[in-house]
């Protein structure tokens, strides 16, 4: 269970997130949507403890996350960012193996090697193992990074504590086929009963199709929260995004949005 209570984050006197209180349950896929500048990325960074709120607190499994050690946190919390740029010749396999860093001392053990190989297999990047990361396309890189993040969160069997996966606009560089494939894999992982998943997505239709719960963020505050059908009403879309929506009855989520 992930819980944020009354968190506020300011930069230079301007509140990017104000008084947000929200709970994220394990076994569900939570997606945060909202217009540009609503504070979606900031919220995810606060929840993942990259940033610390000036007031309020974030709790993982009921414990204040600001007191957790870096090493402990790294074994149960992972973040997939928009794009990872590397200036040096690292192979895709080396990038994936970094996900195991929190789990081994100075050299990876045989278990770490197996996990890295399996994750590369699972995300369909095993064929790039020896390739220089910089020569991969944006979509291939993102799959390598997804494999790295999942290698970081991998563990044998169920532990008592939850694992936390954060996604910060992960689809930006993916084509439509990889967007769908990617979201299906996220969906499958989020279904695990000890996994809390929170992601930021721009595409309202994709968000509506895959999320169990949507959080609509507007100017640093939670405008609405609930199932996609509850959150995405015509009135709210008009107010928050400033566009005119039309609901077409279609697709797996029961409706498809067209905007004008």
């Amino acid at each position: 269970m992930l819980e944020a209570s009354d968190i506020t984050f300011r930069v230079g006197g301007r509140a990017l997130i104000s008084d947000v209180s929200i709970k994220f349950a394990p076994g569900r896929l939570h997606l945060v949507v909202g217009p540009n500048g609503a504070g979606k990325s900031t919220l995810v960074k606060l929840l993942a403890r990259l940033l610390r709120p000036q007031s309020g607190r974030v709790e993982y499994d009921g414990a204040d996350v600001s007191r957790a050690s870096e090493a402990d946190l790294a074994r149960r919390r992972a973040v997939l960012s928009q794009a990872v740029e590397i200036a040096f010749p690292l192979t895709a396999r080396e990038v994936v193996m970094m996900g195991r860093h929190p789990h081994f001392g100075s050299r990876p053990g045989p278990a770490d090697e197996t996990v890295a190989d399996e994750m590369m297999e699972h995300f369909d990047v095993a064929q790039f193992a020896g390739r220089d990361y910089r020569t991969l396309s944006g979509g291939e890189r993102q799959r390598v990074n997804f494999a790295r993040v999942m290698a970081q969160l991998w563990r044998a069997g169920r532990g008592p504590a939850c694992r936390y996966l954060f996604l910060d606009e992960p689809l930006t560089f993916l084509d439509i086929r990889h967007q769908i494939a990617f979201m299906k894999k996220v969906r499958a992982f989020a279904d695990e009963s000890d996994v809390v998943t929170v992601g930021v997505l721009h595409d309202l239709n994709l968000a509506a199709r895959f999320a169990d719960r949507l959080v609509l963020l507007d100017r640093g505050r939670v405008a609405a929260e609930g199932t996609p059908a509850e959150v995405l009403t015509a009135a709210r879309i008009r107010e928050v995004f400033g566009v005119e929506p039309t609901f077409l009855p279609a697709g797996p989520s029961g409706f498809h949005l067209v905007f004008d």
Partner: protein, 345 residues
């Protein structure tokens, strides 16, 4: 695939160790005076208890040639390892260990010493010049950090460090230019020689000091290698992998300042070794930082010893400042590397 890379790295490290030993042997043998293997053996055995006092030639070998060769290895190692550290920290393959102002500050400290020393009645003793250089190096690095620190949260972002370092380096270089312009001839010549780098002042005290900083610094650096690996994919990503990025920056920069300032203090400014060496290693063995730090130390030692050999032999019996040799060889090599298509930025 990964196994192949690991074994290639092991082979490279072994080959570099061997190369360093070969160059060490050559640099104790050749110079203004040549020593044969038997001369060297006799000179070394004169150190054993109960042997007769060493002859003049043997003393030249023991007190000038040998410490110079060892100092050269150590300084080369510290420049190479420093370069590998700074490139990893700045996540940029075209960064030099002197980037945050350390070596220009050290050069300024010693130029000031050359000019003001006589007036203040400071004897250019064994320690005074290195201390002045060290103070200059640490002071200029601190200046860079104070100027690069953000007013809001006190952190020093990498881009700010890079640009501030460039500016402060330029400032100190112009100050050195001014000092050598106003200085009279013997001092002006010292400044010139020193800001081009020279190993002619080598002695065993220098070897001791540089050995402590180089070996100590390299050991600390190797302990940071895994965290520096994580830093390659970004500061945020490294944080998510459990790295305390701010603490890592401080540790690595402190190691670099100490290692570079101490080396510069005894030998002057030697450029391009710290830039080119990690570059070449990365092209041959990949970006793993443990490999890069160790390999750059070994390759830096080898290359600087070769350069010193050239500096001593080219105009024998006179000698060139070693910085001229490293730049003359380093710049074309660097340009060649840049033009190779395989190595994209």
């Amino acid at each position: 695939m990964t196994k192949q890379l690991a074994s290639r790295r092991a082979v490279l490290l072994l080959a570099l160790t061997f190369a360093a030993l070969v160059v060490l042997a050559a640099s104790v043998r050749y110079g203004a005076v040549e020593f044969s293997a038997t001369d060297i053996g006799r000179a070394l055995s004169s150190l054993l208890p109960g042997r007769p006092e060493p002859t003049l030639d043997q003393r030249i070998f023991l007190e000038l040639r040998l410490p110079r060769a060892v100092l050269c290895l150590l300084v080369g190692a510290s420049l190479g390892a420093g370069g590998a550290l700074m490139q990893a920290l700045f996540r940029n393959p075209i960064v030099e260990p002197g980037l945050v102002g350390t070596s220009s500050g050290a050069a300024f400290g010693s130029a000031l010493f050359f000019v003001l020393g006589p007036a203040l009645r400071l004897e250019p003793g064994l320690w005074t010049l290195p201390v002045a250089a060290c103070l200059g190096g640490v002071a200029s690095t601190c200046l860079v950090f104070l100027l690069a620190r953000s007013r809001e949260d006190g952190r020093a972002p990498i881009v700010m460090l890079l640009l501030t370092g460039l500016a402060v380096n330029a400032l100190f270089m112009s100050a050195i230019g001014f000092l050598s312009y106003v200085a009279r001839d013997p001092q002006a010549r010292s400044i010139t020689f020193w800001s081009l780098g020279t190993l002619s002042g080598a002695n065993w005290r220098a070897v001791e000091a540089v050995a402590v900083s180089t070996i100590g610094g390299t050991l600390v650096a190797l302990r940071c290698a895994k965290q520096l690996d994580a830093l390659m994919i970004g500061e945020e990503e490294a944080t998510y992998l459990g790295v305390n990025v701010n603490r890592l920056k401080w540790v690595v920069l402190s190691v670099n300042v100490v290692v570079v300032a101490v080396a510069t203090a005894f030998t002057g400014v030697i450029s391009f070794v710290g830039l080119v060496v990690p570059h070449i290693l990365r092209m041959t063995g990949g970006a793993d930082n443990r490999f890069l730090i160790l390999g750059s130390a070994l390759a830096g030692a080898t290359l600087l010893s070769l350069a010193d050999l050239v500096a001593r032999l080219a105009l024998r019996p006179a000698e060139l400042p070693i910085g001229i040799v490293t730049s003359a060889v380093g710049v074309p090599v660097f340009l060649l590397l840049l033009r190779r298509r395989r190595y994209v930025f």
